[in-house]
Amino acid sequence: MTDLERHDYDVVVIGAGGAGLRAAIEAHEQGARTAVVCKSLLGKAHTVMAEGGIAAAMGNVYKEDGWKVHFRDTMRGGKMLNHWRMAQLHAQEAPDRVRELEDWGALFDRTPDGLISQRDFGGHRFARLAHVGDRTGLELIRTLQQQTVALGIDVYMECTVTKLLTAADGSISGAFGYFRESGRFLALQAPSVVLATGGIGKSYKVTSNSWEYTGDGHSLALAAGATLVNMEFVQFHPTGMVWPPSVRGILVTESVRGDGGVLKNSSGNRFMFDYIPDYFRKETAETEEEADRWYTDKTNNRRPPELLPRDEVARAINSEVKAGRGSPHGGVFLDIASRRDADYIRKRLPSMYHQFKELAEVDITAEAMEVGPTCHYVMGGVEVDPETAAAAVPGLYAAGEVAGGMHGSNRLGGNSLSDLLVFGRRAGTAAAAHAATTSAAALPEAALQEAEAAALAPFQRGGGENPYTIHAELQETMNELVGIIRTESEVSQALKQIEELKVRAKALTVQGERRYNPGWHLALDLPNMLRVSEAIARAALERQESRGGHTRDDFPGPSDEWAKINVICTQDGDGIALSRKPLPVMPPELAEIFEESA
């Protein structure tokens, strides 16, 4: 293997979004020789697209806020299926993680006292999201990027990992990948690997996710012997753009609703009042008047139903459209123009203003937006230990969207950026500690050769299909058959189609050469997308209830039995095997928080 570039590290972080960079910074500060490997250029990861803010109970705007309230909101938003310990650590540590970003140069919007301002978001009891206009993700990634550069951490840009390498005892020994630019191969030897690869949205046709979101980390973890938890829970963000077709799925931030925007159907009705579930009735406004007063007086009024958790709002929009009360292009109307003045909208939502102006020729200060659900986030992911973010394979860690458990069956807006920081840091600490006591086993030469042969195989086969066709069919399948509303027959049909696509993907052919060849890159991402899609579909078929981001038409409503069960995926040969595991039980002192407020 003459063109194999080799390096040796203590900690290798795969992914350079918020979780990856935060993990790398921490591992470096703990003294570990650390490298980051990322599929794109540094600073382009999907975190950049986060808009609304970072949820952290800092109490800068509402003194009543605190970690227990944030913990409660997070668990209730996830319909109590969250790993309680992750939700607790997240709520407790998020404020410190936000504050340290300021030490690294972040410039958040301010309160009149000069503290970090906090804004309202769905499912959060108090205004809690630290933000910079509606481009908080950009601020987060740039701050972490600049800190990574300042610390001199090695970054391998435009480099994709295709295989995790393991020693004879099953523990991690490194990672194998290729440089997109040259097509040359890279082997990194390290006792600790942190997965921070984000989500899976590119398996769906309508998605807010970028091309990188092909489930690489989920798939790498499975192949290395780790487990995934609750993959059936996929979040459809209620408000994606729907028109024109080429921008369908691009995110419209929840801040539009947090800042006063409301959802209306074709008759101009604020339909969300018709979709308040009993579970949230006590904390949701009953009249438009009460809802409107809430923006300025949260103590004496309840929150507008437009700010219910995302799963509730997405299902409501889906129902309105199905009932024939949708907008001309198959969405509903999101109206802030008639409720706030133009200056306020441009100031609070500058990138939404820009996005609609540039891409849809719509002036959001003058007319309503058309919006509909879009595949946005996967709650399921690598099963990890809450304290250390360690996966089931020794030396393997996972943080951010690729990890599961934290968000239960549905994630609250704003809880992702804080999740990246809290568990990115924890993964970095644990990965460095593991590396300090373990040296990586020599990389297995046979496995390296196998990985190289697998990567080059699509060039050597002749006469197969091109990967774009197979990808488009997979996206169609997942969107139509394993989308917001699921039934046994449709999910079974999807699994059948995925099996066929797996066979076709093994025979696909790539044209051209190895240097910067997007067709080849897609061919290597495709097996990951297929594996993750199968995991989602199998888990969706298994869970016979409706909860959060998993709605079964044939099993409407949550079940008490399923409330105590996690669905676990492992790799079994070429397929996915399922098992059930009891949900970890919350200690009594935390359970009391829910009794007090009930």
């Binding site: 504050r99 000069g114 080429s246 849809a360 240097r515 060849n517």
Partner: protein, 250 residues
Amino acid sequence: MSYEANLRVWRGDAAGGGLQDFTVTVNEGEVVLDILHRLQATQTPDLAVRWNCKAGKCGSCSAEINGRPRLLCLTRMGTFTEDEVITVTPLRAFPVMRDLVTDVSFNYEKAAQIPAFSPRPREADGSHRMQQIDVERPQEFRKCIECFLCQDVCHVVRDHEDNKKSFAGPRFLMRIAELDMHPLDQLDRKDVAQEEHGLGMCNITKCCSEVCPEGIKITDNALIPMKERVVDRKYVPSTWLGRTIGRRKG
């Protein structure tokens, strides 16, 4: 509403290449990046294009369209007539890797050379207090998505390869201005801007501001104020005297 567009795309690598003509279907509302993706899916599976978010937020898909630096994802096909030939070429100021993808490592090298943010300590209660009005000036520059279109269009870089050694380009001179205006930063950045990163080579033609997809007023709000501060420092007699005496003592 669909029609067939005439696209001329540069294909090749560092060794050479040329423009190739394609006819591609265009649907309502599509942007140039959609058309290049359709080209990949149907005619040229190995066409190299760098992109990520396709929503104007990440700054990856920079190229030149009819000779003008643009983001491929924010350039609507509707801005051209149906019979117009649309020419797409890689950024001219950076070396070509393949097709429309260029080697932008110059920018990452410059970023690493800028002295890092150096904040004053936190207040006694563990917080940093800053007023909104004070954070707004540097916040404008932090809207930058690092598409490097400003670096590409700046003639100091574009027309004079040699200048790359001593000139950081608008993006990174703006970064220095951002740190200089940051309420918490403690370093004096004027000398670095002028002596090491070539602020004086900018002759304020404002080409950078014109191509910025975020509409940042790079020249007016970052580079000119930074130039003024450098000038104050250099030529205000009292400052000059103070520094000169200080230097002798040291």
